[in-house]
Assembly symmetry: C2
Homo-oligomer: 340 residues x 2
């Protein structure tokens, strides 16, 4: 593992040049474009060591070197500083996000902004219901046997479900139901609701019980358990940048993976507080994405995390720039949500 400073500098230079030019980089070009202070031959020796250690490789014998996933990993961990954003980028972010009228709008703008700034595929998870608290529950009568249940979360998310009641219900009873569920559930986290919902059913007066039972089923099944998560996606056209070299020639697996909500959630939904996660190529658990890298982070008002966002691109990506942008956007979105 004896990588001295110069070898690390060589690796850094290789990564930077390859990301910039998309072409395998040779020893001669390296010394010309970077002040390494040594000759190509010396660099070649260093390269041989780097290759032996698995940080770079040659696509073919007479070509220059290309970083491996492991090489990018080392680069990200030890050789790069997060680039500060340019004032222009900061301004772009602010300009893009002010004027959002509701959560849908915020998420939409964010995902497009992120795709535009990083020139990659952007993914934004709506604030997770699991991490939201109930702000209000509304029951709107649609017909005598149908209610529209509208749940408003503190994160701004609004979900609605149709509730098909077992029998007709009087307007007063709807009012009672509304009062009861709000008294019991407002302010609680959705992940903590199941026992409370059960209690609501158990404690309800007999003539409300059938309606309450149905209501609780809908609440639990569709809001707490089932596809509670939503995802926004933008920038798929960016996959076609860099010709067909990235992603080893086929966008197929990538596009397929991006169609699966489950996959996307896995990518960006497991954010730990205030960390930016970088998954490079093979580190990715999803087979279809073994040729791609993902940079993701959590966001939320203040220090709490309510959802994740990130970008996906070729392993040959500008990590420092991307990481900076992802973080900055996440921070701005957090602030926006906090104002709410």
């Amino acid at each position: 593992m004896g990588l001295d400073d110069r070898k690390l500098a060589v690796l850094r230079a290789i990564v930077e040049d390859y990301v910039a030019t998309q072409e395998p980089v040779g020893s001669k070009a390296l010394v010309e474009r970077h002040q390494l202070g040594v000759s190509p031959a010396t660099v070649r020796n260093d390269m041989a060591v780097l290759e032996e250690e698995g940080y770079i490789r040659q696509p073919h014998t007479s070509a220059g070197r290309v970083p491996t996933d492991r090489g990018y990993r080392l680069f990200v961990d030890r050789l790069s500083r997060v680039k500060p954003l340019s004032p222009a980028e900061r301004r772009a972010i602010e300009r893009f996000l002010v004027g959002a009228v509701d959560l849908d709008d915020v998420v939409h703008r964010t995902v497009r902004l992120l795709a535009q700034l990083t020139r990659q595929v952007a993914v934004v998870q709506y604030p997770s219901l699991a991490r939201s608290s109930v702000r209000h529950l509304e029951l709107v009568p649609i017909s005598t046997t149908r209610l529209m249940l509208v749940m408003i979360a503190d994160t701004g998310r609004v979900e609605q479900r149709l509730v098909e009641l077992p029998g007709p219900i009087a307007a007063d009873d709807v009012t009672d139901l509304r009062r009861l569920v709000n008294e019991k559930l407002v302010g609680t986290r959705l992940s903590e609701t199941p026992p409370l919902v059960q209690a609501l059913v158990d404690e309800s007066v007999p003539h409300l019980r059938p309606a309450m039972t149905t209501l609780s089923t809908v609440l639990l099944e569709t809001l707490v358990e089932r596809h509670e998560e939503r995802i926004a996606l933008a920038g798929t056209a960016n996959l076609t940048r860099g010709g067909l070299l990235d992603f080893q020639g086929s966008l197929r697996p990538i596009l397929e993976a991006l169609e699966e909500e489950v996959v996307l959630l896995k990518l960006i939904g497991e954010a730990e507080p205030s960390t930016t996660r970088v998954l490079i190529g093979d580190e990715n658990e999803i087979d279809n994405l073994r040729a791609a890298s993902v940079v993701s982070t959590g966001y939320g008002p203040g220090a709490t995390i309510v959802g994740g966002l990130g970008v996906l691109g070729p392993t040959r990506m500008d990590y420092p720039g991307t990481i900076a942008t992802v973080r900055a956007v996440a921070r701005y979105v957090g602030e926006l949500l906090a104002q709410n």
Copy 2:
């Protein structure tokens, strides 16, 4: 224009073979695979005429023939019968669509179903607000100066907006507001609301007027005028089928076009009642989609149309099959909405 029956049969055979094999089709192969009852030489003469008329062309001199956009157009208009769906397909549609819990779910399932059945990119427009009527308006107090406006349309669409009031409002006043807007607006088409909303403001009692004014602004601006339309998309991975031959080698323009909601709406949103629209290649107004074809139709409960849906694929597409599938799916979705 003297295209006799045999020439038309030749054109049909060329289209069918080319769609199936994706390779230019020659005279010899044609007579082998279709019962034309004549020799290759005769077919060649017919082909020469068809080429002169602009229905087919040769990619290069020593290759077979390929249909032109004009050829596909003739094929669609006069040479093909809409294929009846297989029982398996019918079953797939039914199975896929039952069990949808709400509109979001219906649209989501529909778009995926359509992508899967046609093996192309599917687009489904949510029921247009412009063609919806107001079923109910709900005002939920979020804080003393904030209301959540929830609009439920008869098509099942639910939209919510945050209303930032000019000053604090009492609970009773919210109740009054709610009653007033519902009295006035329930049952009206959204496209007809502007004068009614104005009347609401004009007629409201003085102490409610500021709140009503703000409310009306939100109603008009965000629900009636601005991005009232929503779109769901699926199956982009299908663009990569057929290698890079379709779409003349680059998915870029297609993917870019698919990211623009406006473009998608234009594609499928202009449906006339009960017609299936087929746009082939160059007939497309959007430059980025000149290499693609679009099959779209309207859907809605009963005879009314509330939105559009369709698919996008290479000009080399199975038109009869695609048209049949698009129609069938639209019909099923309409029935589903009618039950609501």
